[in-house]
Symmetry: D2
Subunit: 411 residues, 4 copies
């Protein structure tokens, strides 16, 4: 997707973050519906902080910070930069106001302008990283906002003009893959995160991957079969979570008069049986797969299956649905797909030097890898080697289930 | 203070709530800095809900609720009305917006107009209760807002035009009171809350009450004497709180370069030695009193001392300081004064009938009575028999310390 | 009850603590079923620590502590002595063993012997305090042990030879008291705790006190009327507790096949309708009283009613029932009776000097006074002015409900 | 290690569990020092429950359970058998007494006798599983007991007659391994757990593995370099744990007068610089490795290095040290070695059928694999393919650090 000059891309990405906020009322910018979900205002400021901290301060001569206190306030988790403002308190900052943050963006963008044309490899690398970072936050802005609006008893829509579409769900099929020695990780000259490297060999046993995501209708069968009441389907931690949180259905479902409703960014609507089930945790994905007599794929199986496909062909945020459409064929877009792989370093993994090394590597414990991008991901942001990661109990992301099976061990 | 017609007073009180919000940015209306402190928007809506629920629904023929969901959303704690929206989540409601809430106020005010002139004793009683209720929330709006702004690392001021004044603190003296049989509780025809009744007799031993509040300078001596590190001064629960929360000074103090700063609604400023110490908990007040060789007064000692004084003569919110001025003489205004009395029912206490009975009575456990009103209380709202109540660990209110001593037991 | 020489009484009280443990297996000595309830072994050691700390160390020349580490280990809450071992971890001390603790008792008793005959007023005062202290712990030993055994799924009995008896419950009547000026607090030369002093005057409005405790049968009506599901009957904190803890009945009740069983120290048995309801919290007592159209008495009403009665005439631990018998007439024994009075200092209250001052005074917040002693209290330990105190949510003590009503306010 | 008949081995393993308890006082059998660590009595009962539940009930005709309530009480986590008694409350069971549990063991052993000679493949498989299970609990009994005694302020020794020995630590060296296609998982006819299967191929990049464990002396350098105060070395969750728990050194270390002491099962002793550092969490192991410029090995690198070594040659529980000796060469024994591998299923993994399927598989989330056995593991229990697993924050096991490095990625 890197088309146009770096300066052009900078302007486009930065503008998109602001465009995403157009439908918001001022009040919406500040709400943090849960510890993990940040307010839109914070996302707008933090992405700006990223450029200020990693580009302007080290590379722009005589740059004066917009406000010295922002270094603390909008630091997410970079201990190398200083102690971050506590994450669970991001929703308590009525000041700086939305206007102040927009000014912050403007001033930083203005100061960035000269850097964008500079022929400095490190500068260009960091600008690219900053843009990829901002794209990640564009998706988080949507998922965090969905939690804000979706758990408001008024269930307001983010936008009423979103395309609403569900493709028919064909019978579930599986594609066989013969396994063998495959190459895993990013290749080529394009941008990738440090966690996609080094490219390396992995031996795979034969496996089969489902040709579409699990649908709401299928997931309802699991619910109606008592799936949430039977510990036999669940990992031990998963069952503890089900009991502690009282889970009975996906995150945004609620039952009204015997029917299931689902909150979407376009508003609340009946659950569509043919649409992919969305906002399930890794524990739910794993339990469903076990109930269905299958399992989740590993991240390597997923990547082996995705290599060669067009990563920009699916349902992405640019399609202005912000909800999965289903149908079959496409591994990219629609929903992030839970894998059974714990998020860890590839052999020989080396994080970026300095504080930027905290970007990815320090989260390599207790999380699972998700693959493929979603209907809230900017088109062009993901690729076959792209690794997203969340805790197995998380379910506020656009996450779904693709089944795998049939790995016949060769001994 | 009831001057003018009920309709006039209604308009004046309602207008004042909105005037208090004039200095706010839209972002400030939504923040809930801690579970106990509600956002300004919520206060504006809940006080309106009170009139809608207890006046319009039962008494205004053909009244149509502004939004049926507000009954749940803006119910504070009246289980008799229905299950309230959870208090700790009040800060998560970006919708209804500030504009929506202002519309709610306008529509309810419009519907209230005919009721205000009606010659119905119950209606008039409830309107009066609603106005007193709104005045209480005007003070809470200020204290809750102070917590919002005061714990923002940017320490923004609520208003920069507040009068800043500290009177000289005369040497601490005590006024003797001979005790004996006194009458406690509200008398006369004016408004009072149910918890001020029935008026009844209490026998008091002789006592002496300090003629001014404890100052910052005096409280600093306690700090410098290791007051926060010595369990000998503290109630057992107080010491547990000091340890658990790491208390080392009053709520809004912080040390910078060896000097103490204090956040005020006018902004952060050096602690003024002569000004009354403010934002101390009941535990701190009690510990200080013990350290000083005194004790806190009982609520009856306080009331016995206050009878006959002009309750409107002190430093109230109308004086636009929103900070205590100190000096001596005045029991009313400046700061709510912690008493050693547990908040409980007077002999023969009867709560109001119906859901309104939940207004006061159900909080009669584990709290202490505070007396006298503060610099954030509307003038005319308090009287000698007025009982405020908070948990002994609470310190975000404008609360201070008045010492007592010398009760010689007569056996 | 102080009969015989101080030395005789010392031996008798000390021996009784050990006799209470006769029915135990070694395993029972160490269990701490909840944070508030200590293991029997700890009680045996702590009461010994009290004599070692407050008598032997200051008064016995050349006394060598049995084990220097016990000062920390068996300190309950006397910060003046040093930092106590954390209370919630008392059940984690497998060492010192029961045998070690018994040796500790023996060695301290031996060292105490010379002091018991010394004609030193302060020594005699402290010995008496130590004995009263040990009697209090004898009751706690039984209530804490009941929690241990009662929440063991095996429901083992403490003793199988306890007298099991329930008197018929006469119709509920009320005794009128005209109120007026009464004297409250300990009088005479006998032992009393500092919290019973100074004796002072209190003015009482007329009231009526129930002539017996509330029975299981009556309490069942409250349950069956949905008492635990209707917030209207509860204080706000009480209702929060009911919801958070899922209370549906008194502490030791459980439903089996549609019938209520109750754990007693003699084993599990069907709930006897005529027996007094026991192991209810202050919140439950208050809610029941409100449901019954009555209220709880104040501690002064209770004391005014109890003056002149024989405090040793009721059902006490010496009667070897360890369960209430009911019937009417008797204010003392059977069950501690919740009052509506917050536990606080009497006018002119002065705690004992030094670390002993921590005995009572520092608990004067957030607790309620209970009066009268129980079937687990040693006979002779209580009197009309005796003040016990627990948090309103506590229910593992032998606590019950006596109703009051009818205070006609005289203005 | 399976030598002798199954019946012989049954008697030997069962007897060893009891022998491990010989040094205990009765009081020690009941203590649960933390939620994860069970009392010795519970281990003795639960291992017996295993035979009763999975052998006697299904296979012994006319078997009558010793006590029907034990099914609930001593079920660890087998939801398929019924709802287990809550784990954090295991230390609250003073009954059944130690004697009762010993009787339980005797009665079950007696009933098991005929089964041990039966020629039934499933019976023999389950007996073997039960013995392996009991061996695992023998190690847990020691580690849990260590937590009990080690956190008792008296620091009592488990045994005073343990061999105390530390070998000299040679300079740290690394053994190169060329990687390539290796076979992972159990092979041969001997017993293995389901999580060691299926045996399958894994591709390894070249790597180098340290030839001995990290020593206390080396770990002290990390501490003295501020390792516990610098977030740069830690995984994000690890740093959060360090801060939340206040970690400053390994689990059983404490500083006294400037020197580090370490609690061992033989009592407290100065930290020996040459001995392997023990009782570090996975987070500490990972942070140390990063600080040292290395990394932890993967479980596959470990297994590839261990194949062909004698798994019974190291320092095991049978050597009666119960503490690591260090020196070099040996991958087995001394300490469980943290790997960087998340505990997950091998390709084609199938749990055992029925409730026994809950043995291993349901824990495959958020845990790390440890390899090699420890000084508390019974000799003969482990092998190259053996996978132990704990949460990365756990540190009460005998866990240590072996460094790896140098995986040069081949692309």
């Amino acid at each position: 997707m890197p088309v146009g000059s770096l300066a052009d891309r900078y302007r486009a990405v930065r503008a998109r973050s602001e465009a995403l906020c157009q439908p918001l009322s001022v009040e919406d910018y500040g709400v943090q519906p849960m510890d993990e979900a940040s307010p839109p205002k914070w996302h707008l400021a933090h992405t700006t902080w990223f450029f200020e901290t990693f580009l302007l301060k080290p590379f722009a001569t005589a740059y004066q910070p917009v406000d010295g206190r922002y270094e603390h306030l909008f630091n997410s988790y970079y201990n190398g930069v200083g102690e971050p403002y506590p994450r669970p308190r991001r929703g308590l900052l009525s000041r700086p106001t939305v206007g102040d943050v927009m000014d912050y963006r403007t001033l930083v963008d203005r100061a960035m302008a000269p850097l964008l044309d500079r022929e400095d490899e490190e500068v260009r690398r960091r600008v690219e990283l900053g843009l990829q970072h901002e794209q990640q936050h564009q998706e988080l802005m949507l998922t965090d906002l969905k939690a804000n609006l979706g758990f408001n008893p008024l269930r307001p829509a983010y936008r009423l003009d979103l395309a609403a579409e569900t493709k028919a769900a064909p019978p579930l099929g599986f594609s066989d893959h013969e396994g063998g020695m495959i190459r895993i990780g990013a290749e080529g000259d394009g941008f990738c995160f440090d966690n996609e490297l080094p490219r390396h060999r992995v031996w795979l046993e034969p496996f089969a991957l489902a040709d579409r995501l699990v649908t709401n209708g299928e997931y309802l069968e699991f619910i109606e079969d008592g799936g949430y009441r039977n510990p036999a389907w669940w990992l031990s931690e998963g069952w503890a979570t089900v009991c502690a949180k009282g889970w009975q259905a996906p995150f945004y479902w609620r039952e009204r008069d015997g029917a299931w409703l689902e909150y979407r960014l376009g508003g609340e609507a009946p659950v569509a049986p043919a649409a992919p089930v969305v906002h399930v945790s890794g524990f739910e994905a794993d339990a469903y797969a076990r109930w269905a007599g299958c399992r989740l794929p590993t991240e390597f199986e997923w990547e082996a299956s995705a290599v060669g496909l067009d990563p920009n062909a699916g349902n992405f945020a640019d399609d202005e649905r912000l909800h999965p459409v289903g149908g079959n064929g496409q591994l990219f877009g629609d929903l992030w797909e839970w894998t059974s792989s714990a998020y860890g370093p590839y052999p020989g993994y080396a994080p970026l030097p300095g504080a930027l090394g905290e970007y990815n590597g320090k989260f390599m414990s207790s999380q699972l890898v998700l693959r493929g991008g979603s209907c809230a991901t900017p088109r062009g942001h993901v690729r076959a080697s792209y690794r997203n990661f969340f805790y197995p109990a998380d379910r506020w992301q656009f996450s779904g289930i693709r089944l795998a099976k049939g790995s016949e061990p060769a001994t």
